[in-house]
């Protein structure tokens, strides 16, 4: 038996995941924790809909309702959607470019643990005196007046997880720039890799303004600064600018990887090369570029003046052009294809009309005068749920089905998958379509109840019923996952049979070194080319079998993140006179953080080599080991 394959106990597996620097395991960690937060955010959504089910409902108090809407938005954006997408990026992108790992495996692990501790910190607010209650946008004038520590949990928790995301973004950028296999030119990269690239660039440039804004919030609330305190000369609009300079690119950070997943699905299940690959790539870059020019369309009613509003309105409308290019490219990819309606493809086809509906209402809101009417109404709620759920969440569900076999080596049930799709899809439109009309009828967002005489009862009841359908869909999906895992029917390299890109050329799940030999990429859809030419070996290789250099695992990322977690408690209670220990906790936490950084810096970490003989033996057994050393 080779040294690569070892049976391990539960404790050893947990320790392995705590110290892993393998991008595929980190992807699983992202998927599990992101999925966990997705369920929490989903329960919060259900509570909101139960409260709004009928007029004058007293299921939730007004204060608790504010906490729940705030945490629902924050959780879904920062702790569910983004981590799950980062999970797919981690799992798939290195495989698609023929790399053995990401550029900075250690930082990859650090990014995950920072996100994880940030998310835990934020959610601890529920048990430690109340959650944030100023909305996920946390406008300063409201947030500074909020009592208790909820807002402090928000500011510190998002700071921690934001660092993690930033690190992840840099890591993916460097991986794509430096570690593509021979022959993998930029214009041969699969669309999912391209969207990962552009989304990572957006992360790189969009997260610093958020971090700065959050720091201002922390200093104002916990250390007595006056950035947003008007009577001390501060200005609350600064928060809005910083938040939306981050916040609008954030929308594209979410939707671009979703576009990438759907692009892969359209090509695979239409069994056709993507129509207009080049146009799709440039549309992706353009969307990323324009994403930074439009933030003030969230602030039309602030009073920036007609000139600013007109400029931002025009810039916003321009974004519809590259997005439209993408829609038509997808449609023309399906056109004339040999279509197979597997679960991922059903999601992809349903995504197009749903997302277009969200896009059209987006262009409506770009018209500044009309936005004065729509602002802060349920029309806005309907719009952004159409793009986020109709785009991002459908992509996450589709991507889970598509990449499950590659990540876990088993195939989710098609039958249950279709049930999930139909219940979720019907529930989604039922919940949010009608909210457009609630908005037009004048129902404002973020109110905890409404009167029976306002005529909003029926539409709200329908909306709440739709939410139940979505919940059923998600529950069926969880059942599907459990059944699939218990049955444990293993699949081969290319379970969808029509895989086009490199990740489908290797075993499912891939061995921890991904590629025993680095492949040679001979064109776009490189694996498809080999299949069409009848290559029995799978791929053409760029190197003979030889020793492979791999990075060592490390517990330090977890310790560093824990240090920030501890320090945050010190900062959180800093202004409470009853707690004299805060400064000590702050210093201890930072000492843990910087101590671990110093240890990382001083201790050489050269990695290890997998011997050629082990690789050959491994290949004989199908290359399906998960051993780490």
């Amino acid at each position: 038996m080779s040294s690569l394959a070892q049976k391990k106990g539960v404790g050893a597996v947990i320790w392995d995941y705590m110290t892993t620097v393998d991008h595929k395991k980190i992807a699983i960690l992202y998927l599990i924790s992101g999925g966990f937060f997705f369920l929490i955010g989903g329960v919060e959504a259900l509570l909101i809909r139960i409260q709004l089910m009928k007029a004058g409902n007293d299921f939730l108090s007004a204060g608790l309702y504010n906490e729940i809407i705030t945490m629902h938005g924050t959780t879904m954006i920062f702790l569910a959607s983004m981590p799950i997408l980062l999970g797919f990026m981690n799992a798939i992108m290195p495989l698609q470019i023929g790399a053995r790992d990401v550029a900075f495996p250690f930082l990859n692990s650090l990014g995950f643990w920072l996100f994880f501790f940030g998310g835990i910190f934020l959610n601890l607010s529920w048990f430690m005196g109340g959650a944030p209650d100023a909305g996920w946008t946390n406008y300063a004038s409201l947030a500074l007046a909020s009592e208790g520590h909820g807002i402090d949990f928000y500011a510190l928790g998002l700071t921690i997880s934001g660092f993690g995301t930033l690190i992840g973004g840099i890591n993916f950028l460097v991986t794509i720039i430096n570690m593509r296999a021979p022959g993998m030119t930029y214009m041969r990269m699969p669309l999912f890799t391209w969207t990962t690239f552009v989304a990572s660039a957006l992360i790189l440039l969009a997260f610093p303004p958020l971090t700065v804004g959050l720091f201002f919030m922390v200093f104002d609330r916990m250390f007595g600064a006056n950035f947003f305190v008007v009577e001390m000369g501060g200005n609350t609009i600064i928060w809005e600018h910083l938040f939306w300079i981050f916040g609008h690119p954030e929308v594209y950070i979410l939707i671009l990887p979703a576009f990438g997943i759907f692009s892969e699905i359209f090509a695979i299940f239409s069994r056709k090369r993507l129509f207009g690959y080049t146009a799709l790539v440039f549309a992706t870059i353009l969307i990323g570029f324009y994403g930074f020019m439009v933030w003030a369309h969230h602030m039309f009613t602030v009073g920036l003046g007609p000139t600013a509003n007109a400029i931002f309105a025009l810039a916003t409308m321009i974004i519809a052009v590259p997005t439209g290019i993408k829609i038509f490219n997808w449609l023309l990819t399906i056109w004339g294809g040999s279509i197979k309606f597997s679960v991922p493809m059903v999601y992809a086809v349903a995504f197009i009309p749903s997302f277009v509906a969200g896009g059209v209402t987006g262009v409506m809101q770009a018209i500044a005068p009309l936005d004065y009417q729509l602002h802060d109404s349920y029309f806005i709620v309907a719009h952004f749920h159409y793009v986020i759920v109709g785009g991002v969440v459908l992509a996450i569900l589709a991507g889970t089905h598509l990449y499950w076999p590659k990540m876990f080596g088993t195939m989710l049930s098609e039958k249950l998958g279709h049930i999930t799709f139909w219940t979720f899809f019907i529930g989604f439109h039922m919940t949010f379509f009608i909210q457009h009309f609630l908005g037009l009828l004048g129902m404002p967002r973020r109110v905890y109840t409404f009167g029976a005489d306002q005529g909003w009862d029926l539409f709200n009841a329908i909306s709440s019923a739709g939410a139940a359908f979505m919940a059923i869909g998600v529950i069926v999906m969880l059942i599907n996952i459990v059944i699939t895992t218990v049955k444990n029917v293993r699949v081969g390299n290319d379970p969808w049979e029509d895989g086009r890109t490199l990740e489908w050329a290797i075993p499912s799940p891939p061995p921890f070194y991904n590629f025993a030999q680095t492949p040679l990429v001979r064109g776009l859809d490189t694996y498809w080319i080999e299949k069409m030419e009848g290559n029995k070996k799978g791929m053409v290789y760029a190197e003979p079998v030889g020793d492979i250099h791999m990075p060592n695992g490390s517990i330090l990322p977890l310790i560093m993140s824990f240090g920030m977690f501890v320090a945050s408690f010190g900062a959180l209670y800093f202004q409470d006179d009853s707690k004299p220990w805060t400064l000590a906790v702050l210093i201890i936490g930072l000492a843990i953080l910087f101590g671990a950084m110093l240890a990382r810096s001083l201790k050489d970490d050269l990695g290890f080599y997998i011997k050629k003989e082990d690789l050959i033996e491994d290949a004989k057994r199908g290359g399906n080991t998960d051993g780490s050393k």
Binding site: L205, V212, G233, L242, S601
Partner: protein
């Protein structure tokens, strides 16, 4: 990577910082990090410009009267010189002259420490004038912008010292050459930010 491999000035590559894949990754990744840092400081500058001279009614401080320009000029010259000495250090790193590199890094650290000491003195002076962190939006924006820069200087100094101490016995190799290079790159970035602080905060403050 073999740490025991011995290099001479002849066998040492022209660009040791990017001679390995790890080095290349660090090089690109660090430039990207500097892009993020640039946005961070841009946000801080924008906030400072929006909140400059803003405070509670009757605030006696303004950017035209508060700052000690001669002191700040001396700090600027010291930091600019330290950037030059770090260039010398990297020049010797590329020539595989470890001792000269350590010497120039030592001078860089001394200059950086002097700068930091003067900055602490400067802040202390302003606080004694009554310009405390919590007194106004102006003071918060000023101390946060300049203080964030100061924190970067402190971090850069710790980084230099850690590298110098860690490698003092074993000299240069392919593993630590990129680290020295990046620390110097970081130091240049800090210097560029200071040039902007000197211009936007101090000089533009004096003529406003």
């Amino acid at each position: 990577m073999d740490l025991n491999k011995r290099y001479t000035a002849q066998s040492w590559p022209d660009h040791p910082e990017t001679a390995t894949l790890e080095g290349k990754n660090k090089f690109v990744g660090f430039w990207l990090l500097l892009a993020a840092e640039t946005i961070t400081f841009a946000s801080l500058f924008a906030t400072y410009l929006a909140l400059r001279d803003r405070g509670p009614s009757g605030m006696e401080f303004s950017s035209s009267g508060l700052f000690e320009l001669p002191l700040v000029f001396a700090m600027t010259m010291i930091l600019l010189t330290s950037s030059l000495t770090s260039v010398y250090a990297i020049h010797h790193m590329k020539n595989h002259n470890f001792k000269a590199m350590q010497a120039w890094l030592g001078i860089t650290v001394l200059l950086g420490l002097t700068f930091l000491g003067l900055e602490i003195y400067e802040f202390n002076h302003y606080v004694h004038l009554g310009f405390g962190y919590t007194n106004s939006a102006f003071s918060a924006a000023f101390y946060t912008l300049v203080g964030t820069h100061g924190a970067h200087v402190l971090f850069g100094l710790c980084w230099f010292i850690a590298l110098m101490v860690r490698n003092s016995k074993r000299g240069l190799n392919m593993y630590n050459a990129p680290k020295f290079y990046l620390a110097a790159l970081y130091w240049h970035f800090i210097d560029v930010v200071w040039v902007f602080i000197f211009t936007v905060v101090y000089l533009m403050g004096a003529i406003s």
